[in-house]
Symmetry: C2
Subunit: 163 residues, 2 copies
Amino acid sequence: MEVEELIIQSALANWILTITRLNKFFGALSPEDFLEPVAPGKNRIVYILGHLAAVHDRALEILGLSSRLHPQLEATFLTNPDRAIDFVPDGAELLVLWNEINKHLYDGMLTLAPAQWVGRHLAVSEDDFKKDPTRSRLSVLLNRTNHAGYHLGQLMLSGKLKS
Amino acid sequence: MEVEELIIQSALANWILTITRLNKFFGALSPEDFLEPVAPGKNRIVYILGHLAAVHDRALEILGLSSRLHPQLEATFLTNPDRAIDFVPDGAELLVLWNEINKHLYDGMLTLAPAQWVGRHLAVSEDDFKKDPTRSRLSVLLNRTNHAGYHLGQLMLSGKLKS
């Protein structure tokens, strides 16, 4: 395998590892657990789930893979903080969207060749990309992996999963 | 620039972004802040700082860059959980070690060529590496970036930094 393909494989493996850990966490929750905050007064678990789903849905667009599957997530989970919008969160329903979005996203990522990974992502202009060629699709993958890990760290503080 | 070099640059940029965010957090703390837990009953900030320093110190060895600079960190911050060992943590002193370790680590990473990044890291055997070629130095970088982001997410819950 080419060096560049091996590198992409490592980045994708790291993505999947993080998603798998998140799914293990979410999969262990009762409906009531979803409504608890990760720490007193902090974001509820269901909000973080919706937030991650919204961010990954937007990544479909930024990576140029497809339009968003569930743009309605944005107002509740991206534009506004937790508890700002009066909604009845249903963890199980959100989990269905989350899995659908992640599958779509990963399937799309598997179709990208190395040259596409180092190409410009769609939230950066051609001019800005010339100035900073690290603002590539790959940087989106690495950043989103890190973002998911950031929230995984917070979710684990809730004590809902022991390992 | 070659595709593989661009990819490594993106991974290094993502590492530096996470380290910079951590330094912004730690740099804003008073000596008393270091002794507070990130959430009630959870790890203290100073423990997470020492833990990250110990993990990055060990990464020097795993990446084959050098031996560890501060192996004494392991017992307090890796082998044992917070509060298990009776120590007088000094956030400012630990920050000095943390910065020293990170500088050494990053300087070393900058010397690695793409072919070295996709080579075996030193915590995996040659046989295991043949079975799974994603267990490379690069995977160590990606995993440690993610690990640092995981704890950054927890630190941010402490409310000690507002942005």
